[in-house]
């Protein structure tokens, strides 16, 4: 497998209204994740750092199953935390990328639990790959709500899946081939509640350096209110050649005809 060349940048800020930062970041190949902790006392901060610590044990090129098992180990550790507040058990969101190998090619395994997000930037703008585990998202999915109503929903910060909090984790995954040049951005909801996708897209497209992009996103979110901890990871992929050519042929009328003739 050809290992892609990456440039990575991170930026995290407590925000304007909070007295601690419960977010944690891991941005070291092969793992690029953001964890946003929750829970009473310091439970949130401890949960997110456990998630990052356990995931950092993944080295070289892990398999999807290794990532799954690491999340399970992290959950078991988080659920053992004594935070002295049963009502607000410690837990954490986790979202981001892990570089894995599939069919001898480098792939991004995108993972998500909660409402931190993973975006991919392409020429046509950004695409949110992860799907939030939140009440709002579930209501939108059920077809009854549009984005406008959702943005006014008071419980829009309520998440429905998490790592820890005495639940069994149920992460979503995606597998996408690494195809440089491309840019990925992982963030906690402190960013996305201040900046809409269009604004995020503008900043990510405008800034050529990964670090400038991460810094500019956090600065803009702070300027917009910075109500929560804000954490951002930007990953740029440089190598383009992933052993597969880019051939696409739209019209295969030819082979279809042959096939039908052969068979008739």
């Amino acid at each position: 497998m050809i290992t892609p060349t990456l440039t990575v940048a991170t930026c995290s800020n407590m925000g304007q209204k909070r007295s601690s930062n419960e977010d944690a970041i891991l941005a070291s190949c092969p793992v690029f994740i953001v964890a946003d902790g929750m829970g009473g006392h310091d439970g949130g901060a401890r949960a997110s750092s456990i998630a990052v610590e356990v995931m950092s044990q993944l080295t070289s090129v892990p398999r999807v199953e290794d990532v799954r098992d690491a999340l399970t180990r992290a959950r078991l550790e988080i659920n053992e935390l004594q935070v002295g507040d049963t009502k607000r058990a410690a837990g954490t969101t986790v979202s981001g990328l892990v570089l894995v190998e599939q069919a001898q090619c480098p792939y991004w395994l995108i993972l998500n639990l909660g409402d931190s997000r993973t975006y991919r930037l392409t020429r046509s703008g950004i695409t949110q790959i992860s799907v939030d585990h939140s009440e709002v998202q579930e209501l939108i999915d059920s077809g009854n709500w549009d984005d406008v109503v959702a943005s006014q929903y008071q419980r829009r910060h309520v998440i429905t899946r998490v790592l820890g909090a005495h639940t069994v984790e149920c992460p979503d995954y995606w597998l996408i081939p690494v195809q440089g040049p491309e840019r990925w951005m992982v963030c906690s909801d402190g960013l996305t509640q201040e900046l809409d996708d269009e604004r995020i897209s503008q900043i990510l497209s405008r800034e050529t350096s990964a670090q400038d992009a991460a810094d500019a996103l956090v600065e803009s979110a702070l300027a917009a209110g910075g109500r929560d901890n804000i954490s951002v990871v930007v990953v740029d992929v440089h190598d383009t050649d992933m052993t597969l050519d880019e051939v696409t042929i739209d019209d295969v009328g030819a082979w279809v005809d042959t096939l039908e003739e052969e068979h008739s």
Partner: protein
Amino acid sequence: MRYAVGTWFGLIQANGCIVLDPEIEPTRIHTLWSVLSAGAGFSEVVQALVAGGDIDSLPGFAVLVREKQGYHIAVRGCLAVSATTSEGVVKIQGKRVVTWREEAIVDPLTLSVFVDDCESAQPQWPLKEGIVLVSKIDVCGSGEPMGETGQTTLMPNDDYLNTDSSLDSGDDHDGLTVMGVDDADDHDGMTIMGPVAPTRPPPVPPPTQPMVLSRVCPQCGTANSTRRVQCRACLSKLRGDAVQTTRPPLGKVRLPSGDIIPIDHPIVIGRKPEASRFSNVDIPVLVRVEDPHVSSTHLRVDLEDWSVLITNLGRNGTILRREGETDRRFTDGEQVIAQVGDVYCLSADLNLVILELT
């Protein structure tokens, strides 16, 4: 539309749906699928259903075809349709009729079709079009907006809406993540986890491996499909209620490379296959092929209960060669229930063969 998994065939298209007896011959399903896909009206669909047979040999069926003013519906056998309109609830039972019951429902607010005893099932899987095994289909309403002909107005309670713009200045809703425990006193800016969304189902602990409802053989302990009456391993008669078991491999396929693998995971085939939104229990196997006629993500093999489903995702479609049938090309997310011997041609040179099914 949304459906709940069951044993009856559900043929779903934008213009309507057909539910068919599990015993129906596959050729008839194909015929009806083509008729429905071609955008046929109600009478054409019913004609295709009854064509050539005498009345006694008709299978149980339900036909719901969308028309300008609502839906035209026919039901026969142990199926029923339930609709709410502005005038109240309408129920159409297919039981104890010689031919079928027919009804036109104007602008239904909700419309469901279900197998007897499955009225309370909760359809959860959304589907735009395809053939699936169902116990119930919500055609509109119950979370399915119906578009221009009917308006489902399922808005959340006002309690949940920020109507007074107090959101940012208020006590606890200061814009921070919560995973909801009790709503009461907890929103001080921490992330919390929460139940109690207006439409959220109760949390179910996720299994660590795929589970399926099975009939377990009293003689040899083999898990069998709930549609079997005889054990697939030792042919003993199956007795007793179905139970949840871990799912065995559902068969074997030959990949384009010639390799033969068990169907125990979803399989995604293409030049640069992508897999979207899977969970711990359905980690897919990605199979790369090098052929310019094949799309980057071309074909997916899924396991649903005891069925193996093949979905075309390729731009150029996939040709299905099936014993006794003419070749058929399926396109755009179209889904087929696999049968033994099926050959799925991704291009002139590459195909996937279903060698065995459990």
